[in-house]
Subunit: 280 residues, 3 copies
């Protein structure tokens, strides 16, 4: 069902303008190339509007935020919104510092975002629900692993309605919700959390999927999340076959290989998704 | 014929001062180390002249340009020129924004460059010939694939004369020209374009070849281009042998391996070059 | 003997706040994750104190120093010192420019550092002993390879006393000294110097070991140095077994794999350490 969105992305090759953190920007660029997009990183306030205008999607990631770069975020974001180009926000570390929380909230309030891609702690911090982020990882109490899948999907759906934007919240199970429908997506592998940037890569890739299929944003974002999870799981199997151990250097390389080689048909075949409709 | 330039580079191990973009700077540093150079990245205006003075070559890459960094570009560039140290410019994305186009033009006009390394769209934008760059990739109409090799070499030669500097223009076929002689170099593999930074790496490596053989700049730059193309092709063959598919993560690793292991003799044996002299 | 410090690190998973250079920050983040730490990179002056306060260790690396970032170094460093959080300094390139030398000296003079991790040229430059650094590599005359191990350990011990802080000085043989006891640690492989960032990774990892075992700083830092050297040697053996050649791309991946897979028991079994006590 979701493979078509990968096919559309590979056919269109949208240009994705990323204003993203310096830790993982190389991985984001390579992940975009792997799934069929074309990355451009540009963050000078004097050029971001021009670059955003060329792009099919804009990705804002606050992972190594500097206050002086706020103008770049807003300049690119506003131009994209004006042109109907989807903007995806990754509020990395929201909750860990006032600067990050306020910046994430400000971007969310000012820009009609196409999606917020983050973990549950970051989303709750952005929405002003407190949350106990520890650095860039989700707080344990936010993982809510004891709740049933349906309850957790309902929680994410409610947050999406509060956010008034689509959210893609990754964790042990990933959720994508527009507030009405919520996709619960199983996949991935815990080793993904031991490679920096897998979340940032997913955010960038989500921007590319949305750029290629702007009319079906929920399905496009779910396809991005599902593709990343499937590749994470496949890369782990291949890692064990090839090396017999969990080396994170090799795992990172294999994850990129999977992203580059994944086909629409494989995505269709590898989906593990449950869809919950809002009951009330 | 060109292997000697690689040998000279490995023997001398020149220090290369890079002011380069944050997306691919790690790859540039590793590529320089792989071919035998020694990288130093430094872009504070207060130290660039001192660092450039220590270096055998200076590489300026505007890939994630910030206006506030112009002083660093000029500070390093002027000191290098004053000392006769070759300066290589990579006008990444010239044509995609006014800031990039103007910065590239300004650096080209103010600094006697040893070489400009870019794609055809970027070179034409720098020279004010318009061109339709889309992000950081060459515009299709600039690829001129229908023209004969001789015609395309003549086009590049004319651009080099207009630029009044040596140019290394990569694409389906790569060209290096000083306006009088033009080397047309076949090699590489299309998969190189699906790994971010292969162009930036070539620019950095060109700086190292020029630093080691400043008296034969055309041959030295051609050796850099030829080495990168040969390694790109060899890495692709090895990738298929090893994995049977085109994973871009593994390809990037293998490309670096090839750069590290390439010998002068292999470069001599792997050259596929035609040289065109200016007829008029 | 030192394996317990790795075990403690993997059990505690300390958050490490890095203000580090843009060339190798991705490698530093992945190295921290590999050994069991949790990285956060944050360098806006407005958030560094908050982030440092969350962390178990703070790592300051001046590799791509910008004068405007000095406030971030001091802001994070002072908050960490106030809270008793260990601060590790990597004075990358001290001696290569006045900005770097002065910045390194300033940080050393103002902040009670838990450790300085660098090469001998950088340490001597920081201490005002001149030294002839060439870029970011140690000057040949600083390597002092002709001296006996005991003499070299005594030299490092004297420098640690002058620095009034623990030093971890890497080179052909690595030394960790608090001025009273000096560990001479053999390991590593020359190929490590052909991959950018192995020094920066070690500095970051040292911060994590110190965060996990702040009561035994000398042993903890020695464990970090020993772990990195052991992994460098093991990765080289594995590289030759797997590929039969010295490709630096593959070597870098394997080095990360070794860091991720190293156990306390393997560290105990692989140590090659001599300990010198101050005689006078």
């Amino acid at each position: 069902m979701l493979g078509q969105y990968l096919n559309a992305l590979r056919e269109q090759g949208p240009l994705i303008h990323c204003i993203t953190n310096t830790v993982t920007m190389n991985d984001c660029a390579n992940a975009l190339l792997a799934v069929g997009g074309s990355p451009i990183m540009a963050d000078d306030p004097d050029e971001v509007a021009e670059i955003a205008a060329l792009a099919g999607g804009v990705v804002l990631n606050i992972g190594t935020l500097r206050r002086q770069n706020l103008n770049a975020f807003y300049g690119a974001g506003r131009e994209a919104v004006r042109r109907g180009i989807p903007v995806v926000l990754d509020p990395v570390g929201a909750g860990a510092s006032r600067l990050r929380t306020e910046t994430a909230r400000g971007l969310w309030k000012e820009l009609p975002l196409a999606a917020i891609r983050c973990n549950l702690s970051e989303l709750r911090a952005l929405l002003g629900e407190g949350g106990g982020a520890r650095g860039v990882d989700a707080a344990p109490e936010d993982l809510a692993a004891s709740a049933s899948l349906r309850e957790r999907a309902a929680q994410i759906g409610a947050l999406a309605r509060r956010a008034q934007t689509m959210v893609a919240v990754t964790g042990e199970v990933d959720f994508v919700s527009d507030g009405v429908r919520t996709f619960a997506i199983r996949g991935g592998h815990p080793l993904m959390a031991r490679v920096t940037g897998t979340g940032c890569m997913l955010t960038a890739v989500t921007g590319a999927f949305l750029a290629a299929s702007p009319q079906q944003p929920l399905e496009a974002a779910a396809a991005a999340v599902c593709a990343m999870g499937l590749c994470g799981a496949r890369a782990h199997r291949r890692l064990l076959e090839k090396t017999g151990r969990e080396g994170t250097g090799s795992y990172r390389v294999l994850l990129m290989d999977e992203l580059a080689c994944l086909t629409g048909g494989e995505l269709d075949g590898g989906e593990d998704i449950e869809i919950f409709e809002r009951a009330d």
